[in-house]
């Protein structure tokens, strides 16, 4: 949104763009531009480079690698990274557990974990949701019972994204079952190689395995891996979830999808007025949402951190919908070419080469149904907005 940016902001965006496109290997960025998932190696390699240049954790405290950027600058950093098709630093590391440890952890925990979290030497997983604790996260049951210098953890987490790569998992666990739900929860760090931890993959409808169940069977967790105070985990979790209000909009993701649809669908778009009309409305909505993001950012600096703002729910709600619409648009552009389920674009000798997008268009459409379910479902977001405007 050039219109709204000052000369300095624009120069900052230029600087980010130049950095991302010159320092992150082109083959990694090309894969993402062609609609493929980044591999574990891509994500780690990219985060290492970012971290070496002070670009992985700009929102962390200065002493742990942060930069004193404004919320707008952080937004520009993130958007330019997406637009350059750079795999983002692992969100579980940099946006979730890192800030929690930096804000609430002991000095010892900070020293032990923050550098390796910034550099992706540790791959973190997020162990919040359970089979019976989804939207109602506070009802979680995984228990941690103090036993000498350890906690003994029993229970199950689920929907754990990329836990198959996880080295460590940060978990919400119940440490006091006798008090009101929110007040008996603690935030602990668990080595996934501990005896008693089992990871079981979940097959999703796009054919991939991005989430897992994680089981804990009498897992010994040293008590010094508790973050902050016992039974204060809910406060830390709320801090973590409210951290980056504007990134949920996914403006960069939407723009990338629209750009690719336009590149791949040029002919279809000019031949089919109905499709073109949908594309146009999607572009206008995206522009509106981007301006909404900027409005939130503009007032963020004047609001104390953690102040609830129903407009951040607008960002998640409409952002996830537009991401989904943009995925569906590519599906519609491909038409029958999207029907075969293929893992790769290679075909036997003599067969016509596949259209770009043939491999990923429909799986992405299926997969992105998740965007209105996770990170606070869209029903929950509507509830937050309704509560704020109806004041009940």
């Amino acid at each position: 949104m050039e219109l709204a940016l000052s000369k300095e902001d624009r120069a900052f965006a230029e600087e980010m763009r130049a950095f991302f496109t010159s320092e992150i290997p082109a083959e990694i960025r090309d894969r993402l531009a062609r609609g493929l998932h980044p591999s574990k190696a891509d994500i780690v390699a990219s985060q290492r480079i970012l971290n070496e240049h002070g670009m992985a954790v700009p929102h962390w405290p200065l002493e742990w690698g942060g930069r004193e950027w404004t919320p707008l600058q952080r937004h520009i950093w993130s958007e330019e990274m997406t637009l350059a098709h750079v795999p983002h630093p692992l969100v579980f590391n940099t946006a979730m557990v890192g800030p929690v440890i930096a804000t609430f952890g002991s000095q010892e925990l900070k020293e032990r974990f923050l550098p390796k979290t910034a550099s992706a030497e540790i791959w973190w997983s997020q162990g919040f949701s359970e089979p019976n604790a989804g939207s109602d996260l506070a009802s979680l049951k995984t228990s941690a019972v103090r036993d000498g210098d350890n906690y003994i953890v029993n229970g199950q987490k689920t929907w754990t994204t990329l836990a198959q790569y996880g080295d460590w998992i940060f978990c919400l666990v119940r440490t006091d079952p006798t008090v009101a739900q929110q007040r008996g929860i603690s935030f602990v760090l668990i080595d996934m190689r501990s005896p008693g931890v089992t990871v079981r993959p979940i097959h999703l409808i796009d054919g991939g395995y991005e989430v897992n169940e994680v089981f804990f069977d009498n897992v010994e967790v040293p008590a010094d891996q508790l973050v902050g105070e016992e039974n204060k985990g809910w406060t830390y979790a709320k801090f973590l979830l409210g951290n980056e209000r504007t990134s949920n909009a996914g403006i960069g993701v939407i723009k990338n999808r629209i750009a690719r649809a336009k590149r791949l669908g040029g002919e279809v778009i000019s031949a089919e007025p109905l499709l073109r009309a949908r594309l146009t409305r999607l572009e206008v909505e995206t522009m509106a949402l981007e301006m909404t993001v900027l409005r939130v950012l503009a007032r963020e600096s004047s609001m104390p951190a953690g102040t609830p703002d129903p407009v951040s729910s607008v960002l998640k709600l409409r952002g996830s919908e537009l991401q989904q619409d943009a995925a569906e648009l590519l599906l519609d552009i491909l038409g029958p070419a999207a029907l075969p389920f293929r893992k790769e674009r290679t075909v036997p000798d003599g067969f016509a080469a596949l259209d770009e997008g043939a491999v990923d268009a429909m799986p992405t459409y299926f997969n992105w149904r998740k965007a209105s379910i996770y990170a606070g479902s869209n029903e929950v977001q509507r509830q937050i907005i309704a509560k704020a405007i109806l004041k009940f």
């Binding site: 409808i205 075969p340 293929r342 016509a352 149904r369 379910i373």
Partner: protein, 375 residues
Amino acid sequence: MDLDLTDEQRLLGDTVNGLLEKRYDANTRLQLLSSADGWSRDMWHRYAELGLLGLTFEEQYGGAGMGAGELSVVLESFGRALVLEPVLATVVLGGGLVAAAGSAEQKAELLPGVAAGETLLAFAYTEPGMRWSLTGISTAATPAGNGWTLSGQKSAVFGGDAADRFVVTARTPDGEVGLFLVDGAAGGVRRDAYAMQDGQRGADVLFADAPAVALGEPADALEAIESVLDVAITALCAEAVGAMDRMLWLTVDYLKTRVQFGHPISVFQTLQHRAADMFVSLEQARSMALVARLALGADDVAQRRKTVRAAKLQIDVAARHVAQEAVQLHGGIGMTMEYPVGHYLKRTTVIAKTFADIDALTELVGADGGLLPSG
């Protein structure tokens, strides 16, 4: 006016439902999905025994001589159980085209085998780069001796993985689009077989001077294709209605059993209303599936075509709504292969991308004065 099913149709529906309830639960289907064939030859023979594979063929060709009403009853049940066997490809499209365009000898040669479950057919018409046109093809038919040879590539051929014979559209030297029969085992035929996005099987098929015979007269082919497509679209409409019906009830059951915040989530009025809207979509879809079935009997071909496409338009829009909501209201579990609801999303999405999509149907139905009179 009588819009009810006949007693025979009801009995047929009960029989098919009974078979599928007994032998086609979600787990059995999951195992089939990951098997080498991707569907069940055993079920195929059971369908044959029930007469489902020759349902609409004339009795002299081993068929049951039934009509679109019966076909819809069967497909709605298949939609509810998400049947993977290639009934649309072999019976409705392949068999339908042989019945509509073939000579008496060709019908006698092929249809009894289809009805008995011994012969698998597939209709190969889409080509790489094509969208929804039937005629924008470049596969070429060249006269050779008493017959023809075909050269070209077909893509996204439903049932193309296992077909014994292909019914193929190809352009003759006169520029006409004709229908040709090609033996799947003939020299010059190669397949790149795969699962479709919904798990049903298909293939790209490459014909390189493949020996072929014309199915009936090439000059009559387009009319036959159009009339068979009308039947196939009507069948798909019924299948989608079955799928939507199942999605709605899966969702309703889930809302009543899933507990969050100390209550079944069905207590949240916002979710009650979402389920109610799914029901509205389902009922509107059901109505248009019936409209399509009735329209098949119309004499005016242009009117018939338009009405059948209007039905698919309504049903594709409804199925998109119902499927997206079904997954959403399930939360994470709706995203998994283990749980059935996502499979219905996959199937209905593929249906919406079969023959013509929502935009293409909107254009077609809106052309030439739309559906209802001006005044």
